[in-house]
């Protein structure tokens, strides 16, 4: 998956600075049908700063996930 700017989305990128969820954590959880992860449920709900990116990536990873 690439960003709108054309760069690849790095799995190591920290997505949520409150729960310490990385892009890789979210990608694998979506791929395996495990989202939300038990200890990452508050992602996007605490400081809310990552909520836009969380929704953006959830849509992207759900498209990538096996049917």
């Amino acid at each position: 998956m690439a960003t709108e700017g054309g760069g690849e989305v790095s799995d190591g990128l920290l997505l949520c600075y409150c729960t310490m969820l990385t892009v890789g954590d979210l990608r694998s959880a979506c791929r395996d049908g495990r989202w939300p992860l038990p200890d990452k449920e508050p992602t996007g709900k605490l400081c809310t700063g990552c909520l836009g990116d969380l929704l953006y990536l959830l849509r992207a990873f759900e498209r990538e996930a096996p049917a």
Partner: protein, 236 residues
Amino acid sequence: MSSSPSALLSVTYVEPGYRHVVELVHQRDPDARRRLRSLDLAVYEPEGKLLAEVSIDPAEETLDLAAVTAGPAAGRPRVMAVFDARYDERIFPYRPHHYGFLHREGSSSAPLYYAVGAVLGGVPQRVDNSRINNFETYVFAGGPFAERHALLLGNLARFAPALAQVFAYYGPERVVRDVSLPPKAHTEVTLEPEHGGRRLERVEIKSLFRMATYVTGRRATSGDLVLFDHLFTFFK
């Protein structure tokens, strides 16, 4: 408590012509100096393009932000400076705070000391805090010291565009403006000092997710900043 690092992303804006120094950690105990694990600085132009990335030595007490951003900020009215701090929660049970010192070179206006606004993080999962913080407000104190006000607004998202509404209140009247920002873009929204014969009393910002927001006040004649402050959460 965990020894794994916690994280905080804080934002300020830099304009050329100002002395601008950031205290990396606002120390509270002179006998127990606290340090971050790491601190990275990224600088963005108004359209969201990354201009510079700098690794900061967390052992330093302060950073001369004006000097570090002088190159990227040259020829631009303003750049957005993003601080990515990693810290040990055993040292900072809540979170660290950066503070800024701001003064226009050669100006007779008083210097400003302000808290750098935290945008991502700052409400770690271990802290019980359920405040809604993507609705923010600022109440302007009376007084003629600042004649021109504005809102600085930045989108810290990496992928998602931001749609925000800015509400300026003048007594019973309000003026609403929609603002759209691509990832990492930032802008200045001018706030008219009067509307319908009433002076500007309050400004609010509403968006899906938290944004990097400051209010500014400037002298009409010189343009000197005499107010530079982040907004505050509306609901507590």
